[in-house]
Amino acid sequence: MSERKHDKHASTAGQPRGLGSKNPKQGEEMIGAQAVVASLEAEGVDLVFGYPGGQAIKIYDALYDSKQLHHVLSRHEQGAVHEADGYARATGNVGVVIVTSGPGATNTVTGIATAYMDSVPLVVITGQVPRGVIGTDSFQESDIVGITMPVVKHSFLLQSTDELTSTFREAFHIAASGRPGPVLIDIPSDILSEKMVFNYPDKVNLPSYRPTYRGNAKQIRAAVQRIQRAERPVLYVGGGVISSGAADELVELANALQLPVVTTLMGKGAFPASNPLNIGPVGMHGSKYANLAMTESDLIIACGARFSDRVTGKLSEFAPHADVIHIDIDPAEIGKIRKVQIPIVGDLRGVLAGINEAVSKAGAKPITAPWLAQIAEWRRRFPFYHSDLVEDPGRIVPETVMQKLSRKLDPKHSIVVTEVGQHQMWAAQFIDREKPRTFISSGGLGTMGFGFPAAIGAAFGCPDDQVVCVAGDGSFQMNSQEMATAAINGVPVKVLILDNRALGMVHQWQKLFYNERYSFTELSANPDFCKLADAYSWKSRRITAPEEVDAALDEMLACEGPFLLDVAIPDDQNVFPMVAPGAAMSDVLGAIDVAVGAVRTDVPGQPAPAPEPEKSPCAKIDAQFGGRWESDPEDKGPREGEQPEDADVEGESR
């Protein structure tokens, strides 16, 4: 095994990108605020997102002199965090945010929670009222460390200048190493004006924090043996592959043993769409063939994925025949949802490299040809989309807009960022991605309002890439004020709104499961998005007819500055296929079945039967899904039976 390679990877994780202790300001006397800026410089940070205020004013004063740090002024603190998040996802660097105390700090909460759920490395610096008045309800005071405790990887309330530099070093180390996540540093403003000598450390002293990087060699051997004899294996790929930089190792493994690959929303891009082994998205709105493959598989190799309820559906019927090899750097994910036969705690890149080496040493040959043939047959029979599908003429079909966009984008030099809702699912289904960090979406928290600012952040991080935000009319309005941020900084971000004048996803659920009682999901009073774009000096276009799509996409992509394309689509479009919440993954609604013709099958009955007057639709749907509407606490999955044979995993207990 290439132990050296793993160690190398492990030892660099969380280290400063910058000069660390060799920074030119080392040993200088300065005030706390200057030390904050100098610390960021020592970490190699060149871009921060933020919004000033009373308790952060000293940091902003120090920032004024920095030649290294470029500060992007957002129009809302939530926007700043999502921008830093998009930057971090697109580049792999730690995103940095500076905001003030009180409302400035509380406005970051949704952004922090979004980053936490999707394991994105952020350092969020919040101003705080002076130490002497903490706890007195002073002006713009909020206990942001307390408020964010459940959604940060770690947080610090700075107590003195003595610990300022070590706190920054630790914060960056914790954010970027192990399973990445957001770290918050709350700084009382009196510390910012205290004199101190700037001494930036290179090392961290965190005896209680030692992520396990190297996978247990015995477990890796066991995994290789199991994979070699799997007849119907599936590589189930999540965001962990992207954050550990293991995409090449994954391709090597899949190709060597001809293992089909399904990706989660977070894992999109981790495996090239052009590779025939990629069978695309899995889960609630995944393809029927991917979901069938998972259901029929005899071995799931979970790589940096966490068996989210959006992927598994009804747990007790999820992949009932499969053994599970679960590789994750976070031991708490292993066995959390699904019983695991071979757990491997470690960094995916090293573990997959180890598996590849053992596979090639053993001279293992692929035995999956019949299985791949079966999947190919499902794929032919249940395609995502069929050009003969009967659609109303004269109306723009969102699926085809996404297909066209996908074809027009250079897969190696473009980043697609989505908001949350129907458009997000269409983008995930139809936009092909070839490499990691080119598809950015709020997967875990499902934050509407994330996508547009995240696209701005991604564009700052990757100025040579075309960045397109696929948005819905609802989501876009949650942070549309960031149009100013893009305009002022000349960020050439493109926003494509699939505009159905509705909160489409909830509308779809109401249509399918709530007897078309469209309770507060119609957005009839939307603004004229083109006028809004004009107000921020953006270029824009609105289209309403299918024949306009190609030219409008070309115009958008060719535009040098920011561009908004408002695509009018009907509000009765559904995202299909769909696994109803709480249903088994094999129980797919609305998949196309070419055996019957280019038609969607198993669409819930239309027109819907008249509801019984005394019974609410909620009760009805509860009856239909056995009361398991969102998630059922009793639905624990196949857990009975023996424990994993070999559960001695490094890092599982300390």
Binding site: G146, M149, K153, P207, P331, A332, R639
Partner: protein, 161 residues
Amino acid sequence: MKHILSVLVENKPGVLSRVTGMVSRRGFNIDSLSVGPTEDPTMSRITIIVKADELAYEQLTKQLNKLVSVFKITDLTDTSAIERELVLFKVNAAPDRRNEIIEIANVFRAKIVDVGRSSLTIEATGDESKLKGMEDLFRAYGIKEITRTGKIAMSRASKES
């Protein structure tokens, strides 16, 4: 089943809140909790008693281990750990019944720490069964108030390597 967790943490503000927050956030109810400094002033020890099945318990300890403030978790459930709790009972005691109550307290090697006109306050330490036994006996006289410290636990010397 019942688990006794001895959690060694950083002695810093907010750490108790991180630990208890994590326990409640993951859906566990804390039966008993006690916190105090250790032989090392930079560390504190939190003793938590929770009820959980094996899988849930495994998940809880993994999640606690992920907290940067947590150094070490020791499960004292299956070991013959020394468990102690201190309880103060304020028992109704008319002058003519005081002696009976004092006798009961003596049997349990408890101490009388305060005497009032109509009540006695008794300090007792011990394991769960002993304290439960005292409580049952005192009920006959009427208990005005009970305060308990929460359990603390320590492994026995024979279990240490």
